[in-house]
Amino acid sequence: MSEKPNPKKGEAWKPKEKFDKKANKEKLKQEQDQAETKQESNKTTQQQQQQQQQQSKQSIEQQPSQQLQPINDKQIVQTDTSNKRKDFLSHLPIFQDYTSVSIKSVKQIDPQTLHHSFIELCIQYQNGQCIGSTHRCVEFLNALKQFIKDYKLPKQSNYFAMAFLTELKNIFNLMENFRTVNEGMSTSYLFISECLMILRKTKLDENESKIWLCNQIDQFIQSKIISASELIIKNATQLIQEGTTILVYARSYLIENFIINYFKQGKQLTIFVVDNPQFGEGSQLVNRLLQQGISCYQILLSHVSYILSKVDKILVGASSMLCNGALVSRVGTALLACLASTHKIPFLVFCESYKFSEKSQIDSLSWNEIAQLEYGNENQQYTSLSLRYDITQSNYINMIVTEVGLIPATSVKAVIGEFKKYNYVDAIEVPRVDQ
């Protein structure tokens, strides 16, 4: 938690009225779960060794069944609900409420993999406490580090690297049940597997490899997220002159830090924050800016047409940038981009390079995630639909601000090609055996 420059979880965010009843229930469940898991983890450390013996015997015989297990996990969690869509969006994943029963049923299959830190994380995803791609990625990596510290090798395999590689796959498969794995998390997965490949060649023992791996994860967060954000803010400050009017959509980690930084340098900006009341992110941003003493205007997406003539630039954060130059971001960004292009307002995207993806996508409906926040229509007279992501085409985007520079939307592919040479990060420091 100390790595992020944001204030801590407990202080700032209060759940919106919509989430209140749910959040209270969730808090109770969470406390219960934590209490249970702590008790269970004490017990299971004793039982784990016995289980590991069994598992390791089975693992040799039943390696294909381990691959099948994650599929079983998905089935158990998702078919608890009967709300599968039957219309044109039946291919999209829906992530339902997780009761403690469903989490436990997943846990029974693979008790070692579903560490208590991951349970906390998933409940946070559901609560709305952990929204935003950077936030989710950092929290996930922190949970992963805790998992690494508590991880114990099955007795038969001597190599930490080999065993952990399969564990990592299992973890990602499990996380898929709770919310889609975003691009940042996929990049971190690739990075960690690279690290594990390097570990295989060295001959460190278990504790040292764990420490080294945790260090590498810290370095990843430091270089790819924190230093990157500082560089991006530096690049962007040159772009935006004092006194311009900017429009911001919902809440993005980068843009929030950029605005706070800009004001700390003593310059002034007029800020319009466009709110998406469904997730409440705009109001969160407004509150955070107020805490820093920055005043801004708040506006809804349907009322944006009124002020577009007065706005100089539009700044937007990203969930990922795709290979064909399209931007994957919160739902509503594409609408804003379309309006911006009609009014000829520059549309800037702030995105770190670890979020660049090799996928391509043209329209928002072929892949998306359905956010189930509506509970009103018990009469089933209408179906409600709310998506989470939006694809903005590259011709609407004027410029992407990354830590490697200011690039147009079409150069994403070139940047990815550069990164592939270096395995997605700078050269990884190989551990010495002396350590």
Binding site: D87, Y306, V331, Q381, Y382, D390
Partner: protein, 338 residues
């Protein structure tokens, strides 16, 4: 009455006409002793100024303008009406028959058979009846075009609550099968209400929040919108958010059809978002607004005529380029400054 409550513009127009009727029949109107047509008309104009609820109230002046036009038509041309098109012909035929039937009756209600009351009886009251009838029946006239614009299994987009659109869809449902997507604005719950009202009639309805408009627009075949006011250049004043929808629809080449009664025709011009607009209290948008973070909310969205494909009114179907013709038939140029 319950349907009228959901149509605030129609309701206010109707109420104001009935107020006028009450004034005239209750003999509270301050009209000089031997009133001519012009006296009545100036009285009506003054009444419309009094009843108007602010500079952005278009509907009360509109309905009085229509009334004055009908009065002029009834009193000036005697018997013979110029035949323009089929639909209009039947309406004005109805007017002549109505007038002749009234003149043949003997009036018992009014006491003295002076010339002034004759004017009132023969012209004013029947025109009031005519205008009220137009207001009541506007939906039925619009619905005659219901099935001519849709193909089977179409996907339609609607925005917020509009009773005109509701009636249109219900009458189109008899002959066509379609799917409806309702966009919901963030502030009011009208979108949900619309979805439930449509769903009660066994239509396939999906409700989405406004932010999903871009993603959903790929799937939509046509957009149907209700309107608050139609301006003389073909532009529209509507619920905030419709400008964004129309821009998107143009990007995706989705036709936008506007449904309205003719009582919303407003002979004014606007060119940008601020000409006819009003900021709404910040507390409506965000109850936690303070002076440090003000919320901005607006009343209307202006949509330029380039974004619209067709107007369907109870007086006929028009394109934005040709709707000015309807203004010259519906209103008189002399009354545009009410």
């Amino acid at each position: 009455m319950s349907t009228l409550k959901a149509q605030p513009r129609l309701y206010s127009s109707r109420e104001s006409i009935l107020t006028l009727k009450a004034h005239l029949s209750g003999k509270q109107a301050k009209i000089p002793k031997n009133p001519t047509m012009e006296d009545y008309i100036t009285y009506i104009k003054k009444l419309s100024n009094r009843l108007k609820q602010g500079p952005l109230d278009f509907w009360i002046p509109n309905v009085f303008r229509r009334l004055i036009q009908v009065i002029r038509l009834m009193s000036s041309e005697d018997g013979f009406f110029p035949i323009k098109d089929k639909e209009k012909n039947f309406k004005e035929l109805g007017l002549t028959i109505l007038r002749k039937s009234i003149r043949s009756k003997t009036t018992v209600e009014t006491g003295s058979e002076t010339g002034s009351n004759a004017i009132q009886q023969d012209v004013i009251l029947p025109s009031i009846e005519q205008v009220l009838e137009e207001l009541e029946a506007h939906s039925d006239d619009i619905n005659t075009f219901a099935s001519t614009h849709f193909f089977t299994n179409e996907v339609l987009l609607v925005y917020e609550y509009s009773t005109t659109v509701l009636n249109f869809l219900l009458s189109a449902k008899k002959t066509r099968n379609f799917e409806i997507i309702v966009l919901e604005s963030e502030t009011e719950n009208l979108g949900k209400q619309f979805a439930t009202d449509l769903g009660k009639h066994n239509l396939n309805v999906t409700l989405t929040p406004f932010t999903n408009a871009y993603a959903i627009m790929q799937r939509v075949n046509k957009t149907l919108l209700g309107v608050d006011a139609i301006l003389k250049n073909g532009g529209l004043l509507m619920h905030p958010g419709t400008y964004a929808i129309c821009v998107l629809a143009k990007q995706f080449a989705v036709p936008v059809i506007v449904l309205s009664g003719a009582h919303k025709l407003t002979p004014k011009y606007a060119f940008d978002q601020t000409t006819f607009n009003q900021l709404v209290s910040p507390l409506k948008i965000n109850p936690n607004s303070t002076i440090d973070h003000m919320s901005i909310g607006i009343t209307f969205d202006y949509v330029p005529p380039e974004y619209i494909s067709l107007y369907i009114t109870n007086q006929g179907q028009y394109t934005p380029q040709s709707i000015y013709q309807l203004f010259s038939d519906f209103y008189n140029v002399k009354d545009e400054d009410i």
